[in-house]
Symmetry: C2
Subunit: 251 residues, 2 copies
Amino acid sequence: MNDIISLMKEHRSIRSYAPDPVTDEQLTAILSAAQAASTSSNIQAYSVIGVRGEEKRRRLAELTGHQKHVEQAPLFLVWCADLNRLQSAVGGAMETEEPEFELPSNMEAFIMATVDCALAAQNAAIAAESLALGVVYIGGIRNRPQEVSELLQLPKLVYPVFGMCVGTPTQAPDVRPRLPLPVVYHEEAYSEAGFKEGIEAYDAVMAEYYAQRTGGGRASVWSTEMAARFRLKNLRPHMRDFLLSQGFRLD
Amino acid sequence: MNDIISLMKEHRSIRSYAPDPVTDEQLTAILSAAQAASTSSNIQAYSVIGVRGEEKRRRLAELTGHQKHVEQAPLFLVWCADLNRLQSAVGGAMETEEPEFELPSNMEAFIMATVDCALAAQNAAIAAESLALGVVYIGGIRNRPQEVSELLQLPKLVYPVFGMCVGTPTQAPDVRPRLPLPVVYHEEAYSEAGFKEGIEAYDAVMAEYYAQRTGGGRASVWSTEMAARFRLKNLRPHMRDFLLSQGFRLD
């Protein structure tokens, strides 16, 4: 164990921020850490939109499910998978000019761009936390991705993967427990042995966690929360059509 | 700037390893850092397969395009997006028992699991580097994903997103330069202004980088490398069919 691992293990999502701005120096440090992350064959298939303007943050808060911290945080980063820049770079680079060459935006390219984006974002999150800032990922950016794309003028072959609030925390929530390691880590091959016991043990831990966080008001366990999430609604059923309309072929 | 950001900015992929094993203590530290990463609504939709066995590493080296470091590194982690464990947890958790309930494995769930996997892996990569170990991501795990899945006994609703070699480095390659920040970071809205100049500037930097790494033997630039990569072959065209066969609906 060391300071870096300790910092990562102290991660908690922050949903309440002071108005203090994230300075340009901090932002540059965060983004340079992001750029240093691994990228598939150096394709660097992601872009980041930084939103500081109040009006736009307010609109993004609406579009992400009325999350007040999206409006409150002084900086909102929208992390996008981006095949558009590659398309620009590749369009004119070969000796045989083929201006209509289309980058194959198949499932593989979609995965590469999505993963590139996530790796960079996670470096940014850690960099921000190392600067005593707080962050929270906002998957709600995919609630209304068409309107987000229009607001941020995203071209074809770019999609918003998640948002990220960044700012000075005004809360210090408990670190949320995770599944027991043997349920997540498998030696030599995938094994479901121990799944049932591991999930039951985690449910017991989470029952206490939920009760503590709500002063005893909320009785639930992890598997019930997950069931509610996945059984009661079809999560963002528009994503495939949205991606196709953004020019991703996904074939 | 601080030690943590410096460490991230020092990242370089390691493709040559000493035989020294990664200790259980190191592995536990790496995996606990991974688990601390953000996860979409705490779904924790990923699994990690750790491969130390020589015979299996040799086979994985073959399956990932004969990458010798996959065989050489003492530890190979296969990072998987995993909706199977959620399916197990959700299958029996509601009061109304519906044993045939199928987790909706649409594009949205696919994105959530893939992103969860990548965020955890990037924490692991940084944790490993903080322990003076080296890593390299192996996208080649998607070259022959069906065979990888059989070898690692991956059930339906689990797919290998990437591999990761971990071990003690026996090389110290230069840090690879990245695109100029203004090409990647956009203020308030996406803008292609400056793309052309930024890519040209990066091509010039990379020309020098390639020449240095090869003792002047390789004349290339980034956009040419990207063109070669995307124009000359259709990248992993099997991925969509593979994912469908793994039980992902992707609708």
